[in-house]
Structure formats: structure tokens, C-alpha cells
Symmetry: C2
Subunit: 354 residues, 2 copies
């Protein structure tokens, strides 16, 4: 603590991202990155734009990327906002829509950045517990609120909530903004973007860090009614005019446009997940049904924290959250088939005590 910090900054509990270790080579199953490289078209686009024009500011509106996203989802460019990773888009959405008198609502087990944003922007929150089997039950979300946010599929559980349930929430929750954080939607979920035209208070936020293999370039976006998008633009232009650099813009545009590569890699990850789940169940793990590129697992006998350490020692990084209700679970990113075979082999060895 320093006397020079504002009172707000003193009171923060900043987000702690999964570790990015530099000490040795790991099988890295801890931050939900895509095991496949970005599309060759992405690398080609970056190479093509690596030149003298980097001396110039990028387009502050990111028009080229907005157009690609609009085309992909068959919406208008005015329905698209782009940002420096979906974390930045989420942060700007919090201040734009959630800084209200009434508390916002989100689940108790969810993306752990939400309470951090709330504190940063001085927004009250009411936490709504998941059901015993880690489901979001939208009937538990009262209409009198300052906004609602949850990931779908949820993180770190991986559970997907069907669109019909989101639509019935939207039918009664018409006054506050509902944000669906769809970081993992391409691994077995269904996007709510089809509902945008009927619900002006619905905002979908997606990222290029997961299904589009571009975590290293920091690009996220939101799709919603033009009035929601206009609000986000106001916030962004009061914080940082040029949030996406020239290479991030062309890389992300190429990633959105290469639909074949996207389909191929996301399906490969889903297929890997399916056999990994079978293997984990054979090893006495309970696996929460996942529509994401990770699985959330609990062993019937072994403590999660011990498994986490044993795996780490063997060069396999997974994610462990020392938090109420989930401190006996591990979140394991789906890697390549080879990586996951090795992960399973290490688990077998640890569990058999060899």
C-alpha cells in the first residue's frame, strides 16, 4: 500500500491469470488456449502487413474487423464492437451498462474477473449460487437488478445453458442489460447472437483467444443492438482511442474469414474432449458435462490440490482454484490428442502411486 494510491486502488483484489511459466517446458493445460496454431491465413496477413505502415496509427474504429464479424454473424457493422481481448470488452461493458444503482447479478462459480471489474468500477453485485450440480438456474435471478452476466458455457464448469432458457429470461428481464460471455461457445454451445435482433438489451461477448487460436494477439468483440454498441464506443473513446494495433486487426480479420480452418480445429478439439472424458471416467473422475475446450473434474478419492501438484512436478500444468465449492476440482484444457494421451498416462501413474 502506498499513500499515493487512490482509496479505490487500495481496496482492489486484482485478477490473477493462470500462470505463464518461463522455467521449463510444460504440457500447458491451464489457460484454455487452443492446441492448434492460428490459421495459415492469419500468419500470412501479419507478414503482409509487417512493414513501414506500422509507423501510422491503426484505424481507431477497427472497421475491417467489424465488417468481417458482421458478415460472419449476418448482422450490421453497427452491431459490432471490437476490443483488446474480451477482458477489455467486458471491462468496458461493466462501466457502460452495469454502473447502476441496483446490484448486478452473476453466479457464485463463474469467471473470476467479474467481481474484480465490479470492484474496479464500484458496482454492487448479488451473487446467485449455482445448483448443486453446477447449473445456472435463471429462475433464481430476480427481475429487479442492475444487469445480469454469465458465461455460456459457464467457466470453469463448462456447462452450457440452452438458448430457450436465455430467451425466457430476456422475455421478463427487459429493463437491465443481459451480457452473455460466449468465450467458449464454439466448442459445443450455441450463440445467443440469433436473439440480438429481438432483444435490444442483450449483448454477446466473444473472443479470438479460444476457438480461433489467437490468444497471443488479444482480440475480443461484442455483438448487440446498435444502442448498446454505441455506449461501448463512448466508453472506449473515453479510455483509449486505439485499442487494437494494426497487426491484431488484420490477424483477427483473417481468423474470422478462414471458416474452414475454424470448423476443422474446433471439431478436432470436441472429438478429443469426448475420448478424454471417457478415459477420465475410467480413472474414477466425475466430469461435469462440458461444452467448452476444457473439462472440470473431481476425483472420487484423490484431493485436487495434490493431483495439481503431482501433475505440475511431471510437467503438466492444469488449473486449480482454491475457492469455496470448487476447491476439490481441477480445470483441464483440452490439448492435442498426443498431449491428452500423455496427461492421461501421468494421471494413471499418479493414481496408481507409481
Amino acid at each position: 500500500m502506498s499513500k499515493y494510491w487512490s482509496e479505490l486502488i487500495r481496496g482492489l483484489n486484482p485478477y490473477i491469470p493462470g500462470e505463464q511459466p518461463k522455467d521449463r517446458k510444460y504440457i500447458k493445460l491451464n489457460t484454455n488456449e487452443n492446441p492448434y496454431p492460428p490459421s495459415p491465413a492469419v500468419l500470412e496477413a501479419i507478414r503482409k502487413h509487417t512493414g513501414k505502415d506500422l509507423r501510422l496509427y491503426p484505424d481507431p474504429d477497427g472497421d475491417i474487423l467489424k465488417a468481417a464479424i458482421a458478415d460472419y454473424f449476418q448482422v450490421d457493422k453497427k452491431n459490432v464492437f471490437v476490443g483488446n481481448g474480451s477482458d477489455e470488452v467486458l471491462a468496458l461493458a461493466f462501466i457502460t451498462f452495469f454502473k447502476q444503482e441496483k446490484p448486478i447479478l452473476y453466479p457464485d462459480i463463474t469467471y473470476s474477473f467479474y467481481p474484480v471489474y465490479s470492484k474496479f468500477f464500484e458496482i454492487e453485485a448479488d451473487i446467485i449460487p449455482l445448483t448443486g450440480d453446477f447449473r445456472i438456474n435463471l429462475a433464481d435471478y430476480p427481475v429487479d437488478n442492475g444487469g445480469i452476466i454469465f458465461p455460456n458455457p459457464n467457466a470453469p464448469t463448462g456447462r452450457f445453458l440452452p438458448l430457450e432458457q436465455i430467451e425466457s429470461l430476456l422475455k421478463r428481464n427487459t429493463v437491465s442489460v443481459v451480457i452473455i460471455d460466449e468465450a467458449y461457445v464454439d466448442f459445443g454451445g450455441e450463440s445467443c447472437i440469433s436473439l440480438i435482433k429481438n432483444y435490444p438489451n442483450l449483448l454477446a461477448i466473444q473472443t479470438l483467444s479460444k476457438a480461433r487460436s489467437l490468444a497471443g494477439m488479444r482480440v475480443g468483440y461484442a455483438v448487440g443492438s446498435s444502442e448498446l454498441i454505441d455506449g461501448l464506443e463512448r466508453a472506449k473513446n473515453s479510455f483509449n482511442s486505439y485499442t487494437l494495433d494494426r497487426l491484431a486487426l488484420v490477424a483477427a480479420t483473417a481468423a474470422i474469414n478462414d471458416r474452414f480452418y475454424f470448423e476443422t480445429t474446433r471439431r478436432a478439439i470436441i472429438a478429443t474432449r469426448e475420448w478424454v472424458v471417457t478415459e477420465l471416467e475410467k480413472l474414477d473422475f466425475e466430469v461435469v458435462p462440458s461444452a467448452a475446450n476444457f473439462v472440470f473434474i473431481q476425483h472420487r478419492n484423490q484431493k485436487a490440490e495434490e493431483l495439481f501438484s503431482a501433475l505440475r512436478q511431471r510437467g503438466v500444468l492444469v488449473r486449480y482454484f482454491k475457492m469455496p465449492r470448487i476447491d476439490n476440482h481441477l480445470r483441464v484444457t483440452i490439448g492435442t490428442d498426443d498431449e491428452m494421451q500423455e496427461f492421461i498416462r501421468h494421471l494413471q501413474a499418479i493414481l496408481s502411486g507409481s
Copy 2:
């Protein structure tokens, strides 16, 4: 305005950056970009890292870049903060240090993003007028304040304030944080970073967008005492963990490390500025003494707004601010010798009515 926006967002007046026109090719002297391309070492570093690792998150701490900056300024890595352009660094500095009970202080003619940040973070400001000849007079800045910020050289005037005057401010202003925004310092000013070790409340903010020709990659940084830097890290990690992408990190590191290229290009720009000033004075312009990569000029007879339009029609973009005290001035970025010769030729033609 939308009913879904928070009251804060409704009240904002977002920053409007200089135009990035797409309609035709201009001699672009409106956003203070560097006329020279980035160092070849920068392009080489980007090419080398354009590969499969872009699927992975970047280092959230940006250690490689912090180390290069620390080495350059002969400070510790703990004295360095990095961000997505100096605008982001400034925004985070406002919430970290300036969100206080007392109003902050900045000049009336200065970087027009400061009032925008103040409004975004609900910070009161007292505006201190420049002197008649556009000087910052620090004797006008009362000690009882929530923080002080100004660019040095100031923008859009280009005037530089000698370090002795900043040091005497720091001797009496010990309670609040003093931020010196050194975006243009490499074109004839002197950085206050040498004072950091003696004044724990001093923060210098610099950018790679100007003297290091990297506006397209969005990288800025702050140098200050470790307690100020820690505060900035808390704010950043409550907003967005991964603000700099993988290519921005390696590009910026290479730019900082290529000292020869940096020295050569910044000196070329200074030399161009010197003859441009002489030519402008011959054409009856008053030129504010500039230590920046732009000049702030006023013609003795012709209205600035008309000159701005006439230049634009001829394919030359400069910056015109329709604001009190400076609405008869133009800010003109220093381009290459060829660009500036053409700029002077166009002015001659406009002024002679041909």
C-alpha cells in the same frame, strides 16, 4: 442516448482522435506520426515471432519489454510499467493516483484527453491557464491539489519546460502525484526520469508512437518509483490482464534496443523542423518554439480554419482545434524533407492566392 447506458456514460464527451482518412492519399501531418518507418530490427522481430505461438497468451507482465526499458533508462524493472499505448497508461494512472477528494491540476491548453479521463473516472479538475505566450508557469499550481499532469513538451504548443522548474515544483509538491507526459520529449526536450530516484511521487509516461515510429503497434510505458508502478499494476490487473500482444511486446523491445536507428531518425526530424520553422516565418507565420515533432503556428493575416480547409483540398492534412485561445492556430506534424517541401509549396500557393 439509450436507457441502457449508465448515467456516467450518458455524461461523457469522448475524445476525438485526428482523422485517419480512407478516401484518398494525403500528406498526413495531422496525428504526429513519425515519417520514417520502424527500425528494420522491429520488422525482423515481428517476422521471427509470427508463428504457432500466437495461439498462446502473451506474458501478462511484459517482462522482456520492461527489461529493455529499464536497461535503456538505467533503472530497475520494478520502476517500469507497460501498456497498450500511452493513452492506456495515462487512463490507468488517472484512476490509480488522481481519484482523490481534491481536484487535479492541468493546463487549459494541453492534451485534450485529460478532461476526458477526468470525466470517465469522475475526477474533479482545476484548469490552470497557460501564460499569454503559451508557457506553463508552475508557480500558478497551488500545492493543495489531488495531482498534477502536463505534457512536456506540451501539446499542441510544442513548448518545453526546463527540468529545473519541474524539480522545484517537486520540492514543494510532495503529497500528490506529479505526472509528466513525455510523448514528445525525444525531439528536443529532456526527460524527468533522472529525477525519479529522488521523488517517489513523480511518474514519467512515454510512448513508442512518436520517436520510435511504432504508432501502429500501440505501446506506451511509465517510469517511476516502485510504489507508483505497483499501483498501476493493481489497476491494470483489475481491468485487463493481457494488454500487450505477443508481437507488440517483441516489436517494442526491438525498437527500444535499436538506439542507433532511434538517434538517427529523431535527429533527422529535428533538422527538418528547424528549416521548416525558417520557411514558415518567411511566409508570415508566428511559430511557437517547438521541442516536439510538430509546430504550432498562426498566420498574421490568414485564418487557420481556412488554411486548414485549403490544405486539405490540396491533399495535405494538418490538425485544427476549434477551441478557445487556439482556434486560429494549426498544428503541423514534421514529415520527411520532401513532404515538408511540398507542404511549404502548397502554403505559398494558397497564400499568394494562386
